[in-house]
């Protein structure tokens, strides 16, 4: 029996566990543990989204929470990317929308945000003035919602937002424990796995 921790290191299992919850234990042929670990982590992550909406996964507006949520793995980054690019929009001035052009530097200063009830997401082809000349870019902007319209997702606030973010953050921290267990599959973790 060795006492050096490096002897127990399983790099492949650890990396697989980082890529997807439970994949490390699947590699270690601990199928039951793998499935249960995935159920625990993904259950927490998706129940957080179920409670607070996709707005609880937000790398830009809730970056400290996202630090914990990111430990779920690429899935958290994928959900965040979808949230940032497909659901948020720029709060553009109506005069800019009417003119159809603006300074590129002014656009860089704006931050896309989640939408509230009564708002909807529209797109416009804006001419952006840069020092090098003009360029055209399709921009999603926030507009007042008309009849039958609404936001693609709703800004989450209050207790539902807190619970949703907390649940997804706990999912990340739980996955951190599971990743460590996959990196260092010691005798205490899985020695009695039923075959």
């Amino acid at each position: 029996m060795s006492t050096k921790p490096d002897d127990n290191l399983n790099l492949t299992a650890g990396i697989l566990a980082v890529v997807f919850p439970g994949a490390g234990h699947l590699y270690l042929r601990q199928t039951r543990r793998a499935v249960l670990a995935a159920v625990g982590v993904l259950g927490l992550f998706f129940s957080g989204m179920f409670v607070g909406g996709i707005d609880v996964i937000d790398r830009k507006e809730d970056k400290w929470w996202f630090l914990a949520q990111a430990m779920v793995g690429p899935l958290a980054f994928g959900v965040d990317a979808y949230h940032q690019h497909a659901l948020k929009a720029y709060p553009l001035d109506p005069n800019i929308i009417a003119a159809g052009e603006m300074q590129a530097a002014d656009l860089e200063r704006l931050t896309p945000r989640a939408l509230y009830p009564g708002e909807t997401r529209k797109t416009i082809d804006l001419r952006l003035n840069t020092p090098a000349g003009q360029m055209e870019r399709t921009i999603a902007y926030i507009a007042p919602a008309g009849p039958g319209q609404g936001p693609p997702s709703t800004k989450s606030i209050g207790m539902m937002n807190e619970l949703g973010m907390l649940s997804a953050a706990i999912a990340g921290m739980l996955n951190f424990i599971i990743v460590l267990d996959a990196f260092f599959p010691g005798p205490s973790s899985a020695s009695r796995e039923p075959r």
Binding site: G40, L44, S47, F50, M160, S167, I170, A171, S191
Partner: protein
């Protein structure tokens, strides 16, 4: 069923359960217990009993913390530093 709940789109909108938020601690505690015990249980035959025990411990612990903070905020702090009239 309220109109808010009818308009709810799962995973896109926050669920309108603000008045019963504490019920949501039960699935959160359960999933946490399943994930944690999946790597911490040595004998997997005892997995589900350990999950339910840990879930109950979490819920009772959170409930106890709630009572403790309620007493601190509503009873002890007003007794130590009464609000000026």
């Amino acid at each position: 069923m309220s109109l808010l709940l009818l308009a709810y789109r799962p995973f896109l909108d926050p669920i309108p359960l603000d008045r019963h938020w504490y019920l949501l601690l039960i699935p959160m505690s359960f999933f946490l217990a399943v994930g944690y015990k999946s790597v911490r249980t040595v004998d997997m035959r005892k997995f589900w009993p350990q999950v339910f025990l840990f879930t109950a411990q979490l819920i009772i612990g959170l409930f106890g913390l709630g009572i403790g903070f309620y007493i601190l905020v509503r009873v002890l702090l007003p007794a130590l530093a009464p609000a000026p009239l």
